[in-house]
Amino acid sequence: MTAWLLRRLVQAAFVVLAMTVILFIGLHVIGNPIDILISPEADQADRARAIAALGLDQPLWRQYALFLWGMLHGDLGRSFVFHEPALQLIGERLPATLELAVSAVLLAIVIGIPLGLYAGLYPNSLLGRSAMAGSILGFSLPTFWVGLMLIMLFAVRLGWLPSTGRGQTALLFGIRWSFLTRDGLAHLAMPAFNLALGNIALVLRLVRSGVRETLPLDYVRFARAKGLRPARVVGVHVMKNIMIPVVTVLGLEFGGTIAFSVVTESIFAWPGMGKLIIDSINVLDRPVIVAYLMIIVLMFVAINLVVDLLYTFLDPRVRLEDRG
């Protein structure tokens, strides 16, 4: 067990290393943060001083070596822009994003799965057909567009929900969360739904397709022959068999939502990580980008690990022996 976890850990370390190398080279090629950050009125000396202050005067390999050295000491550097430890910056924003991502995935599960089941069981019913057609709306309209429409409708027209921001927060485990207060929940509703829309569609369609594949199989028929209630036949016998792609996709979407919910976050002025990374990319704030992507890559490694474990949970035939 420990050996296996260790192996995964070593692999994760390699992935992180690979990522940092790519980032150092890539960002170097994209441009020089000084060009963006420094006041255009600065003279050569100011410029040189700023470059030195950020350590950009060193050859790239040295910058990388310094970074590695820092990393070994738990220091991922400070943001060029904010002059705060990159990790701290990310840490401040992480709960907001996490909250948003979890809500979005939960919404996708509670709405997508039942609707998908229904559409699979009764493919020709009105609800089933509308769910399928409606789900197309969920992913073919750009997120920013839908987000704005939601704001126009629920905040401006109807005035039911606040338009932007995170609202009141309450403390839990020393972290501020919105979902604990009414106001916070009201602020959370629209962005979460906006983010969930695509995922709902995806889950719905996967479930429906799975149900259609599975329903005619012998073991479903046998389950019926045992006199089980349809809820159990569908909810257990069918569901458990079709969950692997759904879980895969949910894992991907969850990770993706945490990492890149940029559009939604900026439309709803949600102070999450997605905005941070985009802002950082825009000014080539390397320490933040590197630290951020390191966290994200570790998160994906972890999520995918959990998903892999879920596979063995869902289907005993999946064996992960010798699987990374």
């Binding site: 012998d218 073991y219 028929r221 022959a225 045992k226 016998h237 869902l314 289907d315």
Partner: protein, 324 residues
Amino acid sequence: MTTVLDVRGLSTHFTTRAGIVRAVDDISFSVARGQVLGLVGESGSGKSVTGFSILGLIDPPGRIAAGRVLFHGVDLVALEERELRRLRGNRIAMIFQDPMMTLNPVLRIDTQMIETVRAHARVSHAEARTRARDALGMVGIASPEERLSAYPHQFSGGMRQRVAIAIALLHRPDLIIADEPTTALDVTIQAQILAEMQTLSREHGTAMIWITHDLSVVAGLADAIAVMYAGRIVETGSVGDVLDRPLHPYTHGLIGSVPSRNRRGARLRQIPGLTPSLLNLPAGCAFRGRCARADAACASDPPATEIAAGHVLRCFHPQLEVVA
């Protein structure tokens, strides 16, 4: 003797692109309390479909085209799905032919057994588990307690078959439809199971439809035999009638093909010709293409005629000589 099941003029058709497959075509038979009906016949002649039809488990593109299935006088074909569900697994149990595909691959054996118990009896989980374990023991699975928490793919073919049998036995049903239940069992285990079945039949009055190719088992177990060919029952009668005094040329051929009736190592006797595809059956007697005695009369449908008491035949040219 009370009639448990009375099938009248049952027809089940599958609509396919190439045409209608009349898998079951106007068959009638009945089974009384404590009685065992052996259903034998050509592979692909509609035995399994008959079983599914009785339980109302025919899925599109198949459908019951005609006929009635009276269970204790109630027509199952007309019964509502809810009512039917109460009977399935409880008063009528079916053992499916393909053990690999009938058990849900992702659910543990205990889950699949316990849910069957609890679908029809209000018992605690622990109680249900005990019953499941006992049933496993009854069908000759060693260390049932440990085996309960295994998954189907960890079982051998015969063990899976026994699980299916055990599930059928859980509720001491009035009627068991056993579709090739012991093909994958060695004779000592087979004997064990047949003994259990006999006990059940004797003590509980369970009626059975025993679909099999193993004529020797039917000979030892059944009270009556129905022989199917190409969707029709071509001969019915008591075991003695059919096995010792078969009249239909197909029954003759069948019995003649049993290896033990042939010299070791020699070519086995076989019925000449090829089983016709149900798609392009000739008009009239379906067997006439392979029948030595066929003549022009056979181009029309032979009616079911009662040759002797309880010995019904569909043939213009019964073959009276005794099989070798």
